[in-house]
């Protein structure tokens, strides 16, 4: 989501409060994050709003203004939320923030994984004596690739799933 979002109401007026709002909200993340409470929440009941939304989503390509309207439509009819919904660019900024955080998280985990996994053949090439040393009766090179790689990958995956979920819960809590 580029910074060139054009709100139907004029970008000048809209962008200012959006940034301020995002900062304020960001500051509150730590305090907010009632992880379990969010996890326990039922999906929002948007009632009759759901089908029109689907129709709308299936419609022809839309401009950004309509996208911002869509974010508004997503928000529940809560008094406090109504205010946020009116600042359409605010939701936009939050969304952009969420995507960036998720991508950064994914890239970090992938980097850890790739450095270690691509490092293995290099270790094998550069330190053949070292990787043939025995551990639990097996050479370390064999132990690493035939056994340890699986729990290692799983641990990375577990970290990613819980952190990604945390980011989404924070996002949901902010928008709500």
């Amino acid at each position: 989501m580029g910074g060139t979002v054009k709100s139907p109401f004029g970008s000048e007026r809209r962008r200012q409060p959006a940034r301020a709002g995002a900062q304020a909200a960001g500051a509150g993340v730590g305090a907010l994050a009632p992880h379990d409470a969010v996890l326990g929440l039922e999906p929002l009941d948007v009632g009759g709003g759901l089908e029109p939304l689907d129709d709308w989503l299936a419609a022809e390509p839309l401009d950004e203004a309509a996208v911002l309207d869509a974010l508004e439509a997503l928000l529940p009819a809560d008094e406090a939320l109504q205010e946020i919904a009116e600042q359409t660019a605010y939701g936009e900024v939050l969304m952009q923030d969420l995507v960036r955080r998720q991508l950064r998280l994914g890239l970090s985990v992938a980097a850890v994984f790739l450095v270690i996994l691509l490092g293995l053949p290099l270790m094998n090439l550069l330190f053949p004596a070292l990787v043939q040393m025995r551990l639990l009766g097996l050479p370390m090179a064999w132990l690493a690739l035939a056994v340890l790689v699986y729990p290692f990958v799983w641990a990375l995956a577990l970290y990613f799933v819980s952190t990604a979920r945390k980011y989404e819960d924070e996002f949901t809590a902010l928008v709500k």
Binding site: M1, P61, G106, L125, P128, V147
Partner: protein, 540 residues
């Protein structure tokens, strides 16, 4: 497997044959039972999204662990040693990349198939057809080794000709898919996953209990070989102690072992996230978070599974070195039980591994058939040819496509007896990694991707990978030449994936006006968590 026809004295292993029949009957029974639940096209394709993470993960793992994983990895470890360990590690680690960049957004986008994603993300029906083409290529490539596994297993267990296994197994699977669709397949595959885990773990534990620890087997396989193995090594049929070292017999076939190893890893790691029959299963998750949880469970399941094939390959080298001489290492798991002391134990274990092998090629072929039939019926028929087709007509199209694709797989499967199982599978991964992995990653995370760039990258990457592989298969005999060129053609992923990514980025930067006007909306659909109450069911 040229040596096999010569073995006219293969005896019929009745217990194992019974296990075969039992798995086949159970498979059909579960499928038929599930048919009662599968009513609409929606149900058949995605099982109403009513499937929990553990059941879904069992099904994905069941679908994923093919003849290549069940028979091929152990056999290849026995044949080539350490370097083969990259195959299962890459097969498993592919799910990590799938999890990091694809699983949750793809589920949230709500498309049934990769072609759905291609069109839905860019609003281009033409792009859908390109994607359909590669789904079919990958599906066929991947079905061939399964057919070979079927022929091989029936041969080893019943002494019947190769073609009997291909035709019978292909027929049973196609019928089952046509009747039950994905709902039946979900339960069938979950069931078959557990059959496979059991079938690979039990022989491993029996071996360890009978003969000695993992480390003891390692000593026998490398530094202190038993007489039969020593004889096979001296006869030149089995590799020597270099078997257990990196850059051993497998990589040595290529002139550039490190390059070959890296290319292989990249193909298997990126390929998983581009396999159409695996991705189609992510739509059966309740929501994006459930898709992630499912992937996590899958990683645990296949991680446990892959602990066993290397151990069994090691044991095969020690206890069944005669397979080196007959060149039948691919059938190791079916042959190993016969080498154990005690005829009854051997019979029972052979029945167990035969059941596992049957479940392996059955479940993967089923998943591939669903993906291929889905591409034909859903993407080609319902989306392109007959957009106004009724529910009933679509369902009929799916069933006919499943039967037709099954017939094609059987027909081609009859001709691939001469190719090693893992060779074909590795190539299917390379094509998937080059055609679909860049499309998914950039399509999900980069709003600047245009339809021109995406289509060009898919065509160039997938096309180059397919061409390199076809060249190696038909013209180049790349395994023996050992030049830089032949190494790069024999496992092209290391250059075709970057070329695909590069083409997509370059093509998109050159056509900035073709960024979809509704790209923000697409990004919302890909990334907004369901807890906000947004529900979109694209495609219906």
């Amino acid at each position: 497997m040229s040596g096999v026809e010569a073995v006219a004295t293969v005896q019929v292993h009745w217990v194992a044959l019974l296990a075969f029949a039992g798995i086949a009957v159970a498979t059909v029974a579960v499928g038929v039972y599930a048919t009662r639940v599968a009513r609409t096209t929606h149900d058949v394709y995605i099982a109403s999204r009513a499937i929990g993470p553990v059941l879904n993960a069992s099904a994905i793992s069941g679908e994923y662990l093919s003849a290549a994983s069940f028979l091929g990895v152990a056999g290849m470890v026995m044949a080539f040693g350490y370097d083969v360990l990259w195959y299962p590690a890459g097969y498993a680690a592919g799910y990590l990349l799938l999890l990091l960049f694809v699983a949750a957004p793809l589920r949230r986008f709500g498309a049934y198939t990769i072609p759905d994603f291609a069109e839905g993300r860019f609003g281009s029906p033409a792009f859908r057809l390109i994607a359909v083409g590669f789904v079919l290529v990958i599906g066929v490539f991947y079905m061939l080794p399964q057919m070979k596994g079927a022929g091989l297993a029936v041969q080893a267990v019943a002494g019947l000709p190769y073609w009997v296994g291909v035709v019978v197994v292909g027929g049973v699977i196609s019928l089952n898919v046509a009747l039950g669709g994905m709902k039946g397949i979900t339960f069938v595959q979950a069931f078959q996953f557990w059959v496979k885990v059991f079938a690979i773990a039990v022989p491993a534990f029996v071996l360890l209990a009978l003969f000695g620890s993992y480390g003891t087997h390692w000593e026998w396989a490398t530094s202190s070989p038993p007489p039969a193995l020593q004889a096979a090594i001296e006869a030149g049929a089995a590799p020597g102690p270099e078997w257990g070292l990196p850059f051993g017999p497998l990589a040595e076939q290529q002139g550039y072992p490190l390059l070959f190893t890296y290319s292989l890893m990249i193909a298997t790691i990126c390929g998983t996230a581009g396999l159409p029959h695996i991705l189609v299963r992510f739509y059966t998750n309740r929501d994006g978070h459930a898709a992630r949880q499912t992937t996590l469970v899958v990683l645990a399941m296949i991680g446990c599974f892959y602990l066993f094939p290397p151990l069994l390959g090691l044991a095969g080298r020690v206890h069944a070195p005669d397979l080196y001489l007959s060149g039948r290492t691919d059938a190791l798991l079916l042959e190993l039980p016969g080498r154990l002391p005690g005829a009854a134990l051997g019979d029972v274990l052979r029945a167990v591994t035969a059941a596992g092998a049957f479940a392996a090629f059955m479940s993967t072929t089923s998943g591939l058939l669903v993906a291929v039939a889905g591409a034909l019926a859903h993407d080609l028929y319902a989306r392109t040819l007959h957009p106004r087709a009724e529910q009933r007509a679509r369902l009929l199209a799916f069933r006919l496509a499943a039967l037709g694709a099954g017939a094609v797989a059987v027909a081609i499967g009859l001709t691939v007896e001469r190719f090693p199982i893992n060779m074909l599978v590795g190539w299917a991964f390379a094509i998937a990694a080059s055609a679909f992995f860049p499309l998914l990653v950039l399509g999900i995370w980069w709003r600047g991707l245009t339809v021109v760039g995406a289509a060009a990258g898919t065509l160039v990457g997938g096309g180059l990978a397919s061409a390199a592989i076809l060249y190696t298969m038909c013209v180049g005999d790349g395994t023996a030449a050992g030049t830089l060129g032949s190494t790069l053609l024999a496992q092209p992923a290391i250059w075709t994936i970057p070329v695909s990514f590069g083409t997509m980025v370059l093509g998109s930067l050159l056509t900035p006006t073709r960024v979809p006007a509704d790209v923000n909306l697409k990004m919302l659909r890909l990334h907004v968590p369901e807890t906000l109450g947004l529900r979109t069911e694209y495609g219906e």
